[in-house]
Symmetry: C2
Subunit: 410 residues, 2 copies
């Protein structure tokens, strides 16, 4: 099938410079450890650092640049059209992306598929003959909300913006597996391997981005070559990315060069040691729970800037609610710090259980100070909790109290 | 409510040049009459003309620039993620857009509302306190498909690309009307007036973009300040646009400065004489049917380039199907010029009845020539016809035969 969509010229031009030089080890962005850590109601942080070359095409005014590999969306910049514009979507690379040259002919990118009846190497052009699916979903970094942990975990101090709702398009993994004779007997995990370059002299397992998820996650997973109607850019994992809806960002492996069905989890450090839920002070390891499925979560988007008082009267409070692996089905808002809650309305289209919903509540606010919070409940009946689950690295923060905003009305 | 979304910098910079100088009269883009007219299977036309300053931020490779005020999406550039990326969305201005300076403070843009219990002038900031809705919908120029009329009607020779599916966000018209005491007694039409500058010395009715639609169209209409999560850019009618889902593009008035409920249709020429369905050779006038609701329509997007043969074997044929004011509920594809039809599958999310659906059909194609067509049926049971409704100005072309593509398989 002839695929004639071109990479936007501005992207190619922006990436003509050198790729960012920073390379992380073991998937931990220690370079960010000087970022400000948790504080109550941290306001928007201005984008003091420049966008890296591979993401120069993004809208700087809507973003907070933490480092060359960690960029988040400002709380007030998500818009209210459900889908997050690509130029406002967060970026998180565990190691630096490969050279932009891999985007010159995306259809020729090759994927090795193992752990199936007939292992094979397929190009993107071949994958495009096997099926098509467009999948709206929340892409969220495991550490989104880390800035609100009081023990100041290492890693990027994400507030709310290491998340977006986008539409990935590609072929269902199930269709690829079916074409290759099905999953081999006895396999328990789906393992994706990223195509980042591994610096010479390093043990690949310390750097390689290789993640395993339970086999059942294959059900709705796709291999994506497009996002929001544009060819998947390098910054978001192009030419090919493994998309596992409902699972945190790291499980959606970029620059996918191998998909394997395996009996064991990957031996890579990013699987064995990182992204594990451990008590504060305890290092991760294979015996601790892996960070996989996302819990239900919501936050208010507007008004959200403590530094900008708003006018008394009718105020439309807006926000976003996601259900995790189940749909968000209920949303409540409090303007008094969680003492009283009112049910808010979902507005706009329902893009399916993996997408977020927008919500709005019209409140009549007199001059004064307000602590505005939201909490969502999903189809399984799980409600977003008041308190975060404390953990060493600051993963999966879905505390409504941590995401509350203090607003002045004048 | 404090709205902190900034206009992307690249747009402001791109618009720093002078605005396009061309001004149409009476809403007809006569400047385009040298464009090639109908031919069977016209292939993609390369973008020979430059993008106008107010649309410089768009992706030139995905577009065909007919004139400064008429730009369409290439057939192969819609993507497969349902929502059309903003930088690939078509542009059609009946007269040149106002100065970019009106975007400096979009919240201060004022709208006069008449024909209601309590007429008032409301700023966008005030409108934002009245409600929120996000509305996915097909925006399509009345003349989309004009290039396929054999009698070569005047006006832009649009092929398939004067259409896109986008998510507009704003306040429901119904909420605004409710806040202003309801529609005044006896009103029959909803009339929107654009804020374009009217050159001195001209009778305003010959130039003014003022359109009336039946009152019932108010039901799902919104006043939009955002599209696809970004502040509505000038090229698409920002700061404020009247959105009437299911109605052709011209009825979605840009730079909206007045919304009125009226007993009569607007006296403007664009309402009285243009956008009327008349027999070939007959000039428009108020006694002829107005171009309002869109009929069901679909077209194949890939493969679609007769100049690029595709490889024999499994081919995923993709396309778009819209139902008009009712949902598209069925889609069929033919690979032999309409002799035989197979039902194709809708893929991806259903964004509601005003949005289009994507479809895909996997065909096993041997080397040879194929005429690939699609036809859709909507919830009301209306099926896209083989033949266009002939009319003087070339409006509302939804003929499946006209939209068929000739493809070589090698």
């Amino acid at each position: 099938m002839s695929e004639q969509i071109n990479v936007p010229r501005r992207r190619v031009m922006a990436a003509a410079g050198a790729a960012a030089a920073w390379v992380g080890v073991g998937g931990v962005a220690r370079a960010d450890s000087t970022e400000p850590a948790s504080q109550s109601n941290p306001g928007p942080v201005s984008a003091a650092k420049p966008l890296p070359d591979y993401a120069k095409w993004k809208n700087a005014d809507s973003l907070i640049v933490h480092s060359a590999n960690t960029i988040e969306t400002r709380r007030d910049a998500f818009g209210s059209s459900v889908v997050t514009p690509l130029d406002r979507l967060f970026v998180r690379n565990n190691v630096s992306p490969p050279s932009e040259s891999i985007m010159a002919d995306p259809d020729s990118w090759a994927l090795e598929v193992n752990g199936v009846g007939k292992p094979a190497t397929l190009t993107v052009a071949q994958l495009k003959t096997l099926g098509l699916q467009a999948l709206p979903m929340v892409l969220q970094c495991s550490g989104n909300g880390r800035a609100y942990f009081p023990h100041k975990p290492g890693g990027t101090q994400w507030q709310v913006g290491a998340a977006g709702c986008v539409i990935f398009t590609g072929v269902p993994v199930a269709a690829v597996v079916k074409a290759l004779g099905g999953v081999a007997d006895g396999m328990v995990y789906m393992t994706g391997t990223g195509g980042e370059e591994i610096p010479a002299g390093l043990d690949p397992n310390t750097v390689r981005v290789e993640r395993s998820v339970p086999l059942e996650a294959m059900k709705d997973a796709i291999l994506a070559w497009e996002v929001n109607g544009e060819p998947l850019p390098l910054a978001h994992g192009g030419p090919l990315r493994l998309i596992v809806p409902g699972y945190t960002g790291v499980n959606n492996v970029k620059y996918l060069k191998q998909l394997a069905f395996t009996k064991e989890q990957s031996p890579a450090s990013i699987q064995q040691n990182s992204y594990r839920m451990t008590d504060i002070g305890v290092k991760g390891g294979p015996k601790f729970p892996a960070v996989w499925e996302m819990p239900p979560k919501s936050w208010v988007t507007l008004p959200s800037d403590p530094a900008k008082p708003i006018k008394a009267g009718k105020v439309v409070i807006t926000g976003l609610a996601m259900g995790g692996v189940d749909a968000a089905t209920k949303i409540e808002v409090s303007v008094n710090g969680g003492k009283d809650w009112q049910e808010a309305q979902f507005v706009g289209p329902d893009l399916g259980k993996y997408a977020w919903r927008q919500f709005a509540l019209t409140a009549d606010l007199k001059p004064g100070s307000y602590n505005i919070a939201s909490r969502t409940t999903n189809a399984k009946g799980e409600t977003q909790p008041a308190d975060r689950v404390e953990n060493n690295r600051g993963y999966n923060n879905n505390s409504w109290r941590d995401h509350m905003v203090a607003i002045k009305v004048v």
